[in-house]
Amino acid sequence: MASGAIAGCLGALLGLGGGVFLVPFLNAWFGLDFKTAAAISLVTVIATSSAVSAGTAGRNLINLRLGMLLEVASAAGGVAAGVTVARLSDITLERGFAVVTALIAVLMLTRLERRNVIVDTTVDPGPLGGRLHDEETGGEVVYRVRRLPVALGTSFLAGNVSAAFGIGGGILKVPVLNAWCGVPMRVSAATSSLMIGVTAAASLPIQYANGYVNPPLAAAAVLGVLIGSRGGLWFGLRARAKWLKLLMAMVLGLVSIIYLRKTL
């Protein structure tokens, strides 16, 4: 339950499900097999998604239209992952995961000083963009969504990864939306948080039916994550975007190292 609380706190902060921390914990320390660990983690991903989105709703941070459009791809990825994953070994998957997280960490570090918002509020945000009140400059800012196919492709991959590893998939979507698609960090995180619930719901019922979800352990993890996500939410609304990115890069680097060590 304590690990659930820590995972939930960090997850809420970064728009990730928190599964990135929970899966290695349940798998490596608690000794559960990978599929059970991933399924329990997916349950907490839905809990984090609902709790965090309920907390951010009304702040104009969630981009509902972009989220729903990307959910088409991420849910398809979730459904498809069942087939894909069965054909790959755990080692192959874990190695791939280590490489991907390392790449995103590097990408994040190179974009630390970049800001995606346009301060001129007369600019048309387009059908998928939006406006929001920016805490750092104190005024209203506008952003446009760019490279939509990249966002859709990433969401599909995120759906795959989510179902395979029991993570939210925000670990892929948030950096890509932020660095390549012009979406501000907080909007990326809030929109991703909303999306991961549906992404997880697109594969979890199958894992639940297969008996991979251990109900008492899942309950303990969910309750822990719910407590932890309150803390993450509070901190996330106050922290500076630069520090959020730095923390995210560090977390990704750590996860990458853990998985590399596991598979070598």
Binding site: N60, V72, V79, G129, G197, A201, I206, P215
Partner: protein, 106 residues
């Protein structure tokens, strides 16, 4: 875009209420179920409560998509109605596969 910003904002708040209700309901079921399970008594009730909590939790995001669908229909935003239908179809496939597995291996 800006004409429908207030209705999108209302949808965001409504979805927020739905999500918080789902989370609280499932957390209560899971907490009581876990309590029973840890105490070692009422194991049938514990199993029922734990599974009910998990099912409520899994249903919440699906309900969220259903509410979005109804709202986009009300707003007459047909492109997003279509997008929401696609997501619902994908979720239906998952639920059907899960129900099929459950009936195959009880």
């Amino acid at each position: 875009m800006n004409d429908d910003a207030p209705s999108l904002g209302r949808l965001e708040v409504r979805l927020g209420h739905l999500l918080v209700t789902g989370v609280i309901a499932s957390a209560i079921l899971l907490a009581i179920g876990l309590g029973f399970w840890l105490s070692g008594s009422h194991m049938t009730a514990a199993a029922w409560l734990l599974n009910a909590g998990l099912i409520v939790l899994m249903s919440t995001p699906i309900l969220r998509v259903l509410v979005s669908f109804a709202e986009y229909v009300a707003m007459k935003q047909w492109f997003f109605v279509g997008v929401t239908v696609l997501v619902l179809l994908e979720l239906t496939v998952t639920v059907l596969v899960a129900l099929h597995r459950l009936s195959a291996f009880p």
